[in-house]
């Protein structure tokens, strides 16, 4: 589904990603771990189409198409969903408007009829129940005045409504208490399916107790320095990122 080859990206002239290779198949959950500044969030942003990042080399194929040629909205309509590390507050735009507009854009793109208000509400209510989200949320402006946990839950809720093919979770666990972490993880796990791939970007192993990955990659200094099974996350937790920097030195050598 996703083939990242030798991806280099920089922001304001500073190289952040320095040759990422990554292959994700439908049905798989991949975790990308790494210390601060290793390029985790940059990778997520480049995949979602953030324009501040300049891709200087390499390629990204998504279902056989050149992802880097696509505008952010086209990527979203093609089924890529980025759960933001810092969901943006948008006063004056309410959640219902955003969700309905987003969902109908995706549906139009797939050649499906747009949902009317009633069908939309039925769908949304069902998803809200699963995630224990209060219906008032729909009338509230997007993320405005939300707590950190509410913002993250709202991201997962949007994902549940939009049903992406490739979900990228950018540090969805950061700032969550254990209850919120469980709710969010349950929401993500409920979406695991043979047709869908999930990329979990995280600093800590904690989240991976709840969302158990098939593959773990460790990112350091803009490169994937180690990949392995779910046990790699535990090993990393035990030994710390210092261990990985040693590995990175070997890889670089």
């Amino acid at each position: 589904m996703l083939e990242v080859t030798n991806l280099h990206a920089s922001v304001a002239g500073r190289g952040i990603l320095r040759g990422i290779d990554l292959s994700v198949k439908a049905g798989e959950v991949h975790a990308i771990m790494g210390p601060n500044g290793s390029g985790k969030s940059t990778l997520a942003a480049v995949l979602a189409g953030r324009e501040e990042y300049e891709v200087t080399a390499g390629s990204v194929a998504y279902n056989g198409r050149d992802l880097l040629e696509m505008e952010p909205e086209e990527r979203a309509r093609e089924g890529i969903f980025l759960a933001f590390q810092y969901p943006v507050e948008i006063p004056g735009v309410n959640n219902a408007y955003l969700l309905k507009a987003a969902l109908n854009e995706v549906r139009k793109h797939r050649g499906e009829p747009e949902l009317d208000a009633m069908d939309f509400m039925a769908l949304v209510k069902q998803r809200m129940q699963v995630l224990h989200i209060d219906q008032d949320l729909l009338k509230r402006p997007v993320n405005e005045g939300f707590s950190g946990g509410e913002k993250k839950r709202n991201e997962i809720f949007q994902m549940a409504v939009l049903e992406p093919k490739l979900a990228i979770m950018d540090e969805t666990d950061s700032g969550l208490d254990i209850d919120a972490l469980r709710t969010v993880s349950a929401g993500v796990n409920a979406m695991r399916s043979p047709e869908r791939a999930i990329l979990v970007v995280t600093h800590y192993q904690r989240l991976l107790n709840y969302i158990v990955p098939d593959v773990v990659h460790v990112l350091s200094d803009g490169r994937i320095v180690k990949s392995g099974g779910k046990d790699l996350a535990l090993e990393l937790e035990e030994k710390g990122y210092g261990w990985i920097e040693g590995v990175a030195a070997q890889v670089g050598a």
Partner: protein, 448 residues
Amino acid sequence: MTTLAPAEAYADAFEAVRRTAAAPDGVVDLRRRAFERFTALGVPTTRLEAWRFTNVAPIANTAFTLATPAEREAAKADTAPHALGIGAGLLFVNGRHVAPASDVSALPDGVEVLSLADVLASDANETRAAVEARVASGAGIENEAFTALNTALLHDGAVVRVPADTVVEQPIQLLFITSPPPGGEPVMTHPRVLLVVGENAQVRVVESYGGGDSPYLTNTVSEVIAGPSAVVDHYKLVRESPTGYHIGAMHVRLGRAANFSSHAVTLGGAIVRNDAQALLDGEGVECTLNGLYLANGSRLVDNHTTIHHAQPHCSSHELYKGILDGEARAVFNGKIIVAIDAQKTDAKQTNKALLLSEDAQINTKPELEIFADDVKCTHGATVGQLDEDALFYLRARGLGLEQARSALIHAFASDLLNHIAVEPIREQLDDLLLADLPGSGGGSFHVC
């Protein structure tokens, strides 16, 4: 056709009004005094502080003749986009009341919605006496050139009188359309609106301005007198064509515990100047002046407001928001005067501008003159661009760039839109902001 100098055109217009527009002696005399004042003052230049950022040379250099009655079909075409379909109202085409197009039959007993020309030409009666007394005060003619010109050429407009203890449920729309002559010669109109609301009465009035696609000037003066505990909700929709100039003054006097709100919405016009002046002339007045202005191309929109707190325990709230694209320019000047006796005044003023292009600009200035010592006055101004993070967030959810921009622009204006109680106006603005707003600056805001 011979070419007139602008001053000659004004003199001809004054002569024509003097000869043809019947009026009581007091008004005839007032016109004469006003024309003398206008002649002395001249069209303002940027050397005057109140016009420093608003260059009206294109108006000063044009010889506008008084608009004459329009071709019926042309007038219809120019009028259609502006009708709100809200029942009661008066239609004015080229400065003259067009009787058949107006329907004021459903109004409560005692409410008068009349053509000013009809009132002035009528035999002496209570209405005429009241109108004459009101108009003859000559508000603004000493210092305001355009108000003096409007008064000098005063002949038609709307008179709305609501007796005490009367609630008018339906909004009243006063629609002023300029339908320029086929040859496109520059024409002008000088509508006058007089809104008198009695004690404990309630009314909602919409003034709409628009016109066809050749040069014209709308120079309007509105006077609002609200009695004790009256509730007045006033809307002004300026949707002049891209070739239209609009100069509008509103003088408001509010009695004890009156509640007045104004919504000045400017969507069109090459140069638009809205002057709103409110005198809070009794205790416990609530005065709200809100404004929303959109401009693109090389348009200029200027909102000047003055709120004069003359009595204690009054509050005023002011929120103006502007959305500027292309090379558009805007001016906001908010003056708040708190008289020495006006203790416990609570005044809040906010102006926010959203600049969608590099070349758009705004000059914003608060002016506070506070003579009382126990008051709360705040003011704030912000100028910003669309939030890039929010744009990306919306696009990352699948919204196209244009749709994402529109959503954010609409969001910027949403608190003002929520205060608009006339449904068709809010719907038009919603549609305009969400659907039709151009991103490039090449489009036209007035086509809503």
